[in-house]
């Protein structure tokens, strides 16, 4: 059977001079033969309390290492998710704040020019509606600026009047 551990776990085992197989066998030996209470019941500093403490320490340490393994191996996916989200967000902002407003502005400019030319042709007795291509009815996009598009203008509130003390308000009562 193969056990998968963090590479750093192997380095830590090496530092402690502990072999993986040895650790595994000790872990197997403990299962079913240890105290699984969550706190020490014996008097501190006694042999019995030390045994309980070792069981508690081993369980907590195993738990810590399991959490560290799960978190460390999941972390790259978490990072990727953050980067993906940021990329989508940035792309969305770029389209909403820059691309769409500039295209709408271009459309406004073209419509103005189109209307000028239509007027000029009508004045010369020509029917501009016969000159295409025409944008089908209902397909034309509203070229006006929309809320939420473009650079949002900061809104400023009118500054509050200077707060007066009770005394100055009483003294000032009745004055124009």
């Amino acid at each position: 059977m193969d056990v998968e551990l963090l590479t750093v776990d192997f380095l830590e085992l090496e530092d402690l001079g502990i072999d993986v197989q040895e650790a595994f066998e000790r872990g197997c030996a403990a299962i079913g033969n240890r105290i699984t209470r969550d706190r020490i019941t014996e008097r501190p500093n006694t042999e019995a309390a030390l045994e309980e403490l070792v069981d508690l320490f081993a369980e907590r340490s195993a738990d810590l290492h399991l959490v560290r393994f799960s978190f460390a191996t999941a972390a790259p996916e978490y990072d990727l998710s953050t980067r993906t989200f940021d990329a989508i967000d940035a792309h969305g902002r770029e389209i909403q704040k820059d691309v769409v407003p500039s295209l709408r502005a271009e459309l406004r400019r073209l419509r103005t020019r189109e209307a000028e030319l239509e007027l000029a042709l009508t004045a010369r007795g020509l029917d501009a509606r016969t000159i295409g291509p025409l944008v089908p009815d209902g397909d034309a996009i509203d070229p006006r600026e929309r809320p939420g598009e473009g650079v949002r203008q900061a809104r400023y509130l009118t500054p509050l009047p200077v707060r007066q003390s009770l005394l100055s308000r009483l003294l000032g009562r009745g004055r124009p």
């Binding site: 750093v8 978190f71 189109e114």
Partner: protein, 145 residues
């Protein structure tokens, strides 16, 4: 809440030797205790980590001058491990929550961005059509210019 620097995610494997029937006994006992994680991979990892901690505690006890000294040293290690575990668990829960929130937000954002991308396509189509028409209108007007 402080954060703890995570180790790199690189993993390695080690081969463990154990008789199948012996391991089955361990597995049954582990389930009865209800402390070990489910699944063979998780259980194997847990057993290695658990055994390491026992051996580490054994090393501390061997170096200690007496039971009291051993108790105090292991108690300090227990406190340190408990604190680190609590912080790590909190950081992990927070990262997992952010991950879930990002996943949901990314889906909603993608839809919104998709809507704007479709709008950009329509705008570009209409601009191209109007540019072409303006050219035709200008050509029609050319004799008078």
């Amino acid at each position: 809440m402080p954060t703890i620097e995570l180790p790199p995610p690189d993993t390695s494997t080690a081969e463990l030797t154990v008789a199948a029937d012996e391991f089955d006994v361990v597995r049954v006992r582990a389930v009865a205790e209800g402390r070990a994680p489910d699944g063979e991979a998780g259980l194997l990892r847990y057993l290695v980590y658990l055994g390491t901690a026992y051996l580490e505690a054994c090393q501390i006890a061997e170096r200690a001058s007496d039971t009291r000294d051993a108790y105090e040293q292991i108690d300090r290690s227990f406190g340190a491990v408990s604190g680190t575990a609590a912080v790590l668990r909190f950081n992990w829960a927070e990262a997992a929550r952010n991950y879930a929130a990002e996943q949901r937000a990314a889906i909603a954002h993608s839809r919104s961005v998709g809507g704007y991308e479709a709008l950009v396509e329509r705008l570009e189509r209409e601009i191209a059509t109007r540019k072409e028409r303006i050219q035709h209108l200008e050509e029609a007007l050319a004799p008078w210019m």
